[in-house]
């Protein structure tokens, strides 16, 4: 393993990890998200031109694919996605049925610009999910009205044009983009005065998403036995959303596409801790497989399995928030 090499200084290892986080994880994921968005945009165009069940099925599949990228990108929820509101603009929950119904029943214009100016609860992935699946997931192509077609088209282009593309641009286009802030952490970055500050931010984002999935998104419907408050209730995609979040976190830790990750920093100084974190991430990711029903059902009939996953996530959260955070504070000193 290259991290153990005695020839590389820790300083240059830090630089590698930062570079690979930026290029192999963030760039890769946001670029894939952008591609998934244009695929979904095409399938919505097909669906609204030729409104068939086959085209609806394709749109649903492409929605799920785009969600997978988006939820994985939540493993590094920092920077423009937060500060420029791309997250709440596209992933607000719950959806507002009452206003959605009155919007669709009205003759208000529904261009992309109009959708952009709607409340966040009427924008993004979940209203689109509702358009595709309907309540109870029973929607067929024959149920889709002309207004709904218009709304669908503007929803996906609002996601793509007003959020996903600008998010990518904020990170990677122009000279003063956010990736430069990350890459120059501790070396002139105005956002991160030290590398330690950058790594702590990355780890706090990992830890936060882990906590949000285990202690909030999974726990709330579980403890209240309420399937109406799950994340993606119409598509039944909730469990995949959860797992994607944790996969995203795993990619930040392990590195992606041959690049180095946070683990290389840890393994170089504390192999035991690295093994422990890797094992716990794996345990958490693998535990999802034991929940075989839709999450909306599992909270009633697979409670042991759901509890197990939440326990694994709690253990992982403690590791990230405690041991890993302390490791960074003790070892990245600049």
């Amino acid at each position: 393993m290259e991290t153990g090499s005695n020839t590389q200084t820790y300083d240059s290892l830090e630089a590698d990890v930062i570079q690979d986080f930026t290029n192999n994880v963030v760039f890769f994921r946001y670029f894939t998200l952008l591609t998934a968005g244009s695929t979904l945009q095409n399938s919505v165009t097909n669906l609204t031109t030729t409104t068939s069940d086959a085209n609806l099925a394709q749109a649903k599949l492409d929605w799920k694919n785009m969600r997978s990228d988006w939820e994985q990108s939540e493993g590094f929820l920092l920077g423009p996605v937060e500060s420029n509101d791309y997250d709440p603009n596209t992933d607000t929950w719950p959806t507002d049925y009452v206003q959605m119904d009155s919007l669709l029943a009205s003759s208000n214009p529904l261009t992309t610009d109009d959708v952009k100016n709607l409340p966040q609860s009427l924008r993004g992935y979940h209203p689109l999910e509702y358009m595709f699946w309907g309540k109870g997931g029973s929607k067929t192509a024959a149920n889709i009205t002309a207004r709904q077609k218009q709304y669908m088209g503007s929803l996906i282009s609002d996601i793509q044009v007003n959020n996903v593309q600008p998010l990518y641009n904020d990170w990677f286009l122009g000279t003063d983009n956010y990736s430069q802030q990350v890459l120059t952490a501790g070396k002139g970055s105005t956002e991160f005065s030290t590398r330690q500050a950058l790594f702590l931010n990355i780890i706090s984002a990992m830890s936060d998403i882990c906590d949000e999935v285990g202690a909030s998104k999974m726990f709330e419907p579980f403890v209240t036995r309420d399937s109406t408050i799950t994340e993606s209730p119409y598509s039944g995609n909730t469990l995949i959303d959860f797992k994607s979040n944790i996969l995203g976190l795993q990619q930040v830790y392990m590195g992606l596409n041959g690049g180095k990750g946070i683990r290389n920093l840890v393994a170089a100084k504390n192999l035991d801790l690295d093994q422990k974190i890797q094992a716990q991430i794996n345990a958490a990711v693998n535990s999802f497989a034991q929940i075989t029903n839709r999450y909306e059902e599992a909270i009633f009939n697979q409670r042991t399995q759901v509890q197990n996953t939440m326990d694994q996530l709690a253990t992982l959260h403690n590791l990230l928030d405690g041991d890993l955070t302390n490791f960074i504070k003790e070892n990245i000193k600049d």
């Binding site: 719950p94 009155s102 500050a197 109406t228």
Partner: protein
């Protein structure tokens, strides 16, 4: 004789030792400067720095904090809806977090999902409790958004006029002054009205500020400016609907609210149109387009959730200071005292006893506020009285966490209306009781000014 000698020497020793002991009372150097919130301090300088709970709470308290957090972030939707229904019908925003970004401050814009600025409105005179007198059909706040199918009360147009400020050393800074115009009011105004802009402030250390004894705040008042430093200060006395009594004002930019519970409940009612057991009136009560709106609405926010959010805000930790050993920061700290910024922005205060949360109890904290109202001059005046606060008075803003606002909010804006785009601009707007300090600031060299600003950024 020998006995007398021993007694004398022993007596002398006692006197000497007690003197030594006296000189060692409260040595500043034994405290850690970074602990802005005492035990309620958290070490995080990331964009999530303001979002942490205080350390050491029990599992039950952590759980309540977590539920409060979820409710704080929940986007409300139009009723009837099972999950977080009750929005509006008129409102300023749909969740707490939309204005208090990452538990930090808001953006000075109006009428959109990312807007964190709202307008208070009133006519001349006072209500039966001495507070601002509502304008018929509008109440005391302009709700600039409405659920689909209804009209907002009015839109708010913000225009800025830029004007240069030039230091004695020739350096120049552009300051912008806002003017506000109401657009498309849903009914004509029957009386002349006064407006006051309020930018969503960061929520840092509110639990600690709540635990500062009233007597401590009163002790900061220098009525009639006896010490001649130009700073007097006064407390606001306000009506508190949660207790039905008139009490000292602690919260709000003009200290017009006594209790945290009332502050949270009023934000839900006025900003989101969500009623609760404390604030039972719909914000649209009395308006012609909502004949069904009542002032005794069934709570749209469950009692427990309102209490959880209050607890959440109360148990948010204060971020630790950074760069405390930086020589420029230390020089800036000295200047801060020399030019008497500390006359209002009090660096150190002790909290009183708190039997529920020991982390907040008896803490030596560094909020950099006295919680008093001060005349800030004509430039910042809203000319709208609020209980005892006159049209030129504002509550001293706490400065802890100031240097993290940029990261937590995304873009940092300062002062009550967000007109200042930098800490420097904010200082230059100071006037009235702060005129002497502002004057002294402008006479500093550029290096000294930068040191002071660097110090403020370390808070």
């Amino acid at each position: 004789m020998k006995k007398l000698y021993i007694i004398l020497v022993t007596g002398l020793l006692v006197i000497l030792m007690s003197r030594c002991h006296k000189s060692e009372l409260a040595p500043e150097a034994t405290y850690d400067d970074r602990l802005s919130g005492g035990k309620a301090t958290v070490f995080d300088e990331s964009s999530h720095a303001l979002t942490h709970s205080i350390d050491g709470m029990g599992a039950r308290d952590e759980r309540v904090h977590e539920l409060g957090d979820q409710t704080f972030e929940a986007k409300f939707v139009a009723p009837p809806a099972i999950v977080f229904g009750g929005l509006g019908s008129i409102f300023n925003n749909v969740s707490c977090i939309n204005c208090h970004r990452n538990d930090g401050g808001g953006f000075p814009s109006t009428g959109s999902a990312t807007s964190g600025l709202l307008m208070r409105i009133s006519q001349s005179g006072t209500d039966p409790h001495g507070g601002p007198l509502a304008v018929d059909g509008y109440g005391t706040q302009i709700q600039d958004q409405a659920v689909l199918g209804y009209s907002a009360e009015a839109g708010v147009q913000i225009n800025y006029t830029e004007s240069p400020f030039t230091y004695p050393d020739g350096t120049s800074v552009s300051l912008r002054k806002p003017t506000y115009t109401l657009q498309n009011p849903y009914i004509p105004f029957s009386v002349p009205y006064m407006l006051s802009p309020r930018l969503a402030p960061p929520l840092i250390g509110i639990g600690l500020l709540d635990d500062i004894p009233e007597s401590t705040i009163q002790s900061f008042v220098d009525a009639g400016d006896q010490n001649g430093d130009g700073i007097s200060g006064k407390v606001n006395m306000v009506y508190d609907p949660s207790s039905g009594e008139t009490k000292i004002g602690r919260f709000g930019l003009k200290a017009n609210t006594n209790s945290l519970l009332t502050q949270v409940a009023t934000a839900y009612q006025q900003d989101m149109g969500v009623t609760s057991y404390i604030q039972t009136a719909e914000s649209s009560f009395g308006q012609s387009q909502f004949p069904w709106a009542t002032n005794t609405d069934k709570p749209e926010l469950a009692d427990s959730l309102l209490n959880f959010v209050t607890f959440y805000v109360r148990t948010l930790a204060v971020p630790a200071r950074r760069m405390v050993n930086d020589p420029d920061v230390q020089a800036g700290s000295v200047i801060f005292n020399q030019i008497n910024c500390a006359g209002c922005h009090r660096p150190t205060i002790m909290t009183g006893p708190d039997f529920n949360l020991p982390q907040l109890s008896g803490q030596r904290i560094h909020p950099y506020t006295d919680l008093l109202l001060h005349d800030m001059g004509e430039g910042l005046a809203d000319n709208r009285p609020d209980y005892l606060a006159t049209g030129t008075e504002w509550k001293t803003k706490a400065l802890w966490g100031l240097g993290l606002l940029q990261k937590t909010t995304g873009v940092a804006y300062y002062l009550h209306d967000g007109r200042a785009r930098s800490i420097e601009e904010a200082i230059l707007w100071h006037d009235g009781e702060a005129a002497k300090s502002k004057q002294a600031f402008t006479s500093l060299t550029q290096t000294e000014r930068n040191q002071l600003i660097k110090f403020l950024n370390s808070l």
